[in-house]
Structures are given as C-alpha cells and as structure tokens.
C-alpha cells in the first residue's frame, strides 16, 4: 500500500528486503503451479497498484518455468469501494484492463498487502462482471491480519503482526527504486 497522505510517518521496521521478496515470489509461483497442476486456464489479475507489479513478476516466473505466457489483467477497484459515504477524498480512478472474458478461467488475484479484506471483496465484485470464473484464488505478499470480512489468501508471502495504527508499505523497484516491505507508524 502506498499512502501519500499528509500524515507524518516513521519507518519502524523492514520486514522484507529485495532478495527475500524475490525468493518469496518464486515460492508463491511454485505453489500456484503445484496447487493448480500447471497453467491450464490460469489467469493472473493484479489489483492496482501494488498487485500489478507482483502479478507481472509471477507471470514472468511462470513463463521461465513452464515456457508459457499466461494471460494477465489489471483491476482497479476505485469504482467498487464500499466507503463512499465516509466522505474521504476519492482516489484517482485507474483503468481496469481485462481484455478477455474470465468465463471458466482459473483466476489468481494478486495484491501486495491483505489487511481488512475490503479491497479483495471489491475486486471480486468487479471480476464477476467479466465472466464467471471457475474459481478465484488469492495471492498476497503480506498478510497483516485485522480482517473485517471473511476473506483469506490462498498464497501468502509472509504473515506480519501489526498494530492498527501501523502502515505496511511495499516499495517496488519499478516505481520506488527498490524492493522492500516496511512497517511505518504515524507520528502526530
């Protein structure tokens, strides 16, 4: 999660460095291939924005291992959020890019941090509009607990214990210049 809010934050702890992230993604890739017995009908959908980079890296690893480039798409959940009534600033609506039907596909949804579960709920609502998949599995780099909906990940990079006031930020070399997972706390 990349929070560009105005609150001041302080780095508390680095949970994963670049090397660990790479190894974890490789392990997740193997788990996906193992559980699904290969790449048949497999499709990766990354949740904007963190999930997009992770989905792409998983896709590349699958291509290296299985010599197949599986379809991938991007979902933006801004239009499916459940918190319009809170009156908070609206995030920019990004483009959803799923140029194929999801009918009968085996979807692996990818996000960087699993927290309350509301993002994933919104993503599933959005996905169903693109066709009825065989199933949807969820892969996340970090599970930080504090679920508010009955949502769980099928593939987890690392479980991290956090306080509600903490923020878990995943930095990506594509945009932040480095791969790192950090916990930050607010200082007010």
């Amino acid at each position: 999660m990349r929070d560009k809010g105005k609150m001041k934050k302080r780095d508390k702890e680095t949970v994963m460095d670049g090397e660990t992230i790479e190894r974890t993604l490789l392990r997740i890739t193997h788990e996906i291939l193992e559980r699904n017995r290969g790449v048949g009908d497999l499709v990766l959908i990354g949740i904007r924005t963190g999930g997009v980079y992770l989905a792409e890296r998983i896709r590349e690893r699958i291509e290296q291992l299985e010599k197949v480039r599986i379809p991938s798409g991007i979902i933006d959940i801004a239009l499916y959020r459940d918190d319009f009534a809170t009156g908070l600033p609206r995030p920019l609506v990004g483009k959803t890019e799923i140029p194929f039907s999801l009918k009968d596909k085996r979807v692996v949804l990818v996000d960087d941090v699993l927290y309350t579960g509301r993002t994933v709920r919104a993503a599933m609502d959005a996905l169903i509009d693109f066709g009825r998949p065989q199933f949807i599995q969820l892969a996340v780099l970090i599970d930080r607990g504090h679920r508010e909906l009955p949502i769980q990940a099928d593939y987890v990079g690392k479980k991290v214990v956090t306080a509600p006031q903490d923020e878990v930020n995943v930095l990506f070399r594509e945009v932040d210049g480095q791969d790192r997972v950090i916990i930050q706390e607010k200082i007010s």
Partner: protein
C-alpha cells in the same frame, strides 16, 4: 486506539494521490482550472473502458439519484447524461419543461427548491437563460451540472471535445483548432474557446461577420472572414450547426449561400492537413455546414465525440456526487 474501520479500510485501499474538483458544480469552462480539466479527462479515460464491457455497469453511484432538468429540448445531451448515470448504477429522472410545473407558472427557484426537498444527489440542467444553472447552484446544496445555458456555455460538450482531441492527437497544447459557423449564438463555441485556449491550443474562428461576436479577440482567439484561411493550418476543424431561424432573422441570405462560403466539403478539405480531425457537436445539417462525404469520411470523429460524451459525463458524475466536501471532512 483503533480508528473507525471505514476510514481504516479506505486508507488501505487508497494507495493513489487524490485530486479533486474545486467546487460542488460544473457550471462553465471559464472558471475551471487546467488541473481540474486534466483530472476530468484522466478520469474519463478509465470510464470509457466500462462502456466496452459485457456488463456495462459499475456500482459506484448505487442508490444515488440524478435529475435531468431540461427546460430546452434535447435528445442527445439528455440521453448521454442518462446513460452515464445508469452505467454508474444511479437512478435518473427526466423532467422536461413542457411537461413540468413551469407550464403552470412555477418559477425556476421554486422548481429547484421543491426538487431539493426530495433529496436528489445531482441536478443536470439545461435552460435558455444564461446563468440559470448558476442561480440553481447558489440556491441548492446539491451539485449542479450545466448542460447548456442560453448562448453562454455548454461545459460538458467542451470537455468531451477536449477529450476527443487529446485522445486522437495525444496532446492539446500547440494544436490549431478552427471553429466555424454561427459563433454568436453558440454556447458550444464559447465553452470550446475557453477550453482549448486554457489547455494551450490556438483557436481560430471563421464564419459570417454577422454571426461573429463583437469583441471576440478578447477571448484570446483570431477570427477570419473566409473559411479557406483557417483550413490549411488547422489540426482540428469544428463545424457548428447553422439554424434556419437565423436566415429568417437576416444573418445570412440563404442556406445555399451559407453553405457555399462556409460549408465543409471534400473540395474545401483538399487544403487541410493530412491528419486533420473533423468535429461537430450535432445534430448536423447534412449538406449545409457539412457535406455527407466529410461527415462520414475518414477524418471525422463525430461519432467518437458521442461515445466520449458518455465517458466524460460518467467522470463528472463520479467526481461530483459523493465527492469530498469541506463540511463533511473530519480529521484523520
């Protein structure tokens, strides 16, 4: 201390910077900033995709009510707003002047207050009097979108025109835009003049002198007496509809003569740039201001304008309805 779960969840979901519109309404391009216009165009890009899906609906404005209050006849604009609202899962109500209490003599203000008492979420208004939407916006707490007020402005048309050009050309700054026709009576022309000049394009006008406003240079544009002067350099040629009533009022002798001097046809187009865009806000008078061959030809983006109109209006409804308002914001 645990935060309100709704806000915590939003913080988790909100991993993008937020940009907002300045006010609660969209009344005219003249008062809008460049960054507001860019926000609307950027947002519209994402909404364009929704209209290409199998299920052309997102739940974003579920339970919201958009009222189309049209005191002037319109099919195209009203339908566009209606489709935009419905694709966002909002409910819509259409009120047209002839069938409304206005016929019984109710004032605009009373009509508005009565509507507001029923708690709508957005009013889209078209009126023959310039400033009518502004009056409503002042009186009502609800967002008001100007769908055309007299000869003053038609901001959503200009926004969809800007979107169309930006999409086709990849930019707006530095382009040369020609607007041709009855500039005097055209709110589309005014909004587009404001819009394109704000975004860094150069606007050139052409049309009969009788239909060119007196101080048009003050708007930062150049006007030319003959069509052939604007065609060669133009990246965009926007033709305006000529109305028959203007002939009866003496603005030009006959439609045929107007067409000969200011109509766009293949012959005139020979002098144009190879990648020129032909635009028209509609409805067209085929054979008068624009020939069928040009209207249906490869340079025409007239139908793209219509498609983009829905996306732009979806973006506006999204940005206005349920948007952050100062009074409602609480500190994190």
């Amino acid at each position: 201390m645990v935060d309100d779960p709704g806000r915590v969840a939003a913080r988790q979901i909100s991993d993008k910077p937020t940009r907002q519109l300045a006010g609660k309404d969209i009344l005219g391009i003249q008062e809008m900033s460049v960054s507001e216009i860019e926000l609307i165009l950027d947002t519209a890009e994402s909404f364009k995709e929704v209209s290409t899906r199998e299920i052309k609906k997102v739940p974003t404005l579920r339970g919201k009510m958009v009222i189309n209050l049209f005191f002037e006849a319109s099919t195209r604009t009203r339908t566009s707003f209606e489709i935009a609202a419905k694709r966002l899962s909002a409910d819509t109500i259409n009120i047209s002047a002839s069938s409304s209490s206005v016929v019984k003599g109710e004032t605009l203000i009373d009509t508005a207050k009565n509507l507001e008492a029923m708690n709508p979420d957005c009013i889209v208004v078209r009126h023959s009097a310039a400033g009518a939407p502004h009056l409503l916006a002042r009186l009502m707490r609800v967002p008001v979108i100007n769908a055309g007020d007299g000869a003053h402005e038609h901001p959503t048309q200009a926004l969809l025109d800007l979107f169309t050009v930006r999409e086709k050309k990849g930019r707006l700054a530095g382009l040369k835009v020609a607007i041709v026709g009855d500039i005097l009576h055209s709110r589309v022309a005014r909004s587009n003049i404001y819009g394109f000049t704000k975004m860094g394009a150069e606007v050139h006008l052409s049309g009969p002198r009788t239909m060119m406003p007196a101080e048009v240079e003050r708007m930062g544009v150049r006007w030319h007496t003959s069509l052939s002067e604007v065609i060669p350099q133009a990246d965009v040629i926007m033709m305006l509809r000529i109305q028959l009533e203007r002939q009866e009022a003496g603005f030009f002798p006959t439609l045929r003569e107007y067409s000969r001097f200011f109509g766009l046809n293949l012959e005139v187009l020979k002098a144009a740039q190879p990648a020129v865009l032909i635009m028209h806000p509609g409805p067209m008078n085929r054979g008068v201001e624009i020939s069928p061959e040009v209207a249906d030809g490869p340079f025409s983006v007239i139908l793209d304008q219509v498609t983009n109109g829905v996306a732009v209006r979806m973006a506006l409804l999204y940005l206005l309805v349920g948007g952050e308002r100062e009074a409602e914001r609480s500190d994190p």
